[in-house]
């Protein structure tokens, strides 16, 4: 079992960051790895249990299901259903917490998953750097915030 935790501080109020992240069908707007996103069966993207289908930038597809969404905790949880990269039993949690000292946002993104034997380090690096850290920078750019130096 691989566990990944990545976190950062966004120089924007938590409400503004949450507005971007809470749309489970909106990640194609900011994440460079995602070319297109839609929610299956026309469900609203804040309906628990809905499934989003990503067309990735490399042409492959993946499907993820929304397990938890909380506006009060500014958090959501999702799992992978179908994926072109071998991440098994993948569950991820995203959580925002206000930084009251400076009106900024603490963004915590963590996941656990299994991999085929021997591919743990490679996939940990790929998910942690390309998806999570890449996502932090992409949201900064999308929100017009300065890149983290």
């Amino acid at each position: 079992m691989v566990k990944i935790v990545k976190s950062t501080v966004m120089e924007a109020p938590v409400e503004a960051v949450w507005e971007v992240l809470r749309d489970f069908n909106g990640h194609d707007k900011w994440h460079p790895a995602v070319a297109e996103s839609h929610v299956e069966r026309g469900l609203p993207s804040d309906k628990i249990g809905c499934v989003r289908r990503f067309l990735l930038a490399d042409g492959s597809e993946l499907r993820e299901q929304l397990l938890t969404l909380s506006d009060i905790d500014m958090a959501f949880t999702y799992c992978l259903l179908d994926t072109p990269i071998p991440l098994l039993n993948y569950v991820a949690h995203v959580r925002l917490i206000p930084v009251t000292d400076g009106d900024m946002t603490f963004w915590h993104w963590e996941s656990r998953f299994d991999t085929p034997p021997g591919r743990e380090a490679e996939l940990e690096k790929q998910v942690g750097e390309k998806i999570y850290e890449g996502g932090f920078e992409a949201v900064r750019a999308y929100m017009g915030l300065a890149p983290r130096s």
């Binding site: 976190s7 501080v9 206000p98 930084v99 009251t100 000292d101 603490f106 915590h108």
Partner: protein, 145 residues
Amino acid sequence: MPRVFVSSVIDAPAAKVWERVRDFNGLPRWHPRIRESRIENGEPADKVGCVRDFNLQNGDRIRERLLGLSDYDLFCTYSILESPMPLTGYVATLRLTPITDGDRTFAEWTAEFDCEEAMADDLVAGIGTNVFQAGFDALKRHFAR
């Protein structure tokens, strides 16, 4: 139930910040408002259930009981047994979380308590500013790099 929430970013690894704040008897070493502290009955300061008896710089005396301490999750939870403040049922948690981007620390300090409704705003503001934010400011100064 009034709630205080103060959070900050400290420019040091969480393990370093934790080393500074984990000692339940160590407030005088890092918090500018605390003058002296002792643990009652000669108990170790990381024994859950121990009681610290400390004085503020202004002479006020407070007794607090350690309810939870985790070196794994980096948090400390405690309750007030005795204080000059007009409140009851006070439980607070100081928690650190690593910020992987930059090897910094996200610090949160929360408290909940009961009091007369008319006192709530002043108590929330006073605790948030004089205790929690003042503590974070001192940590930020200490770890400025």
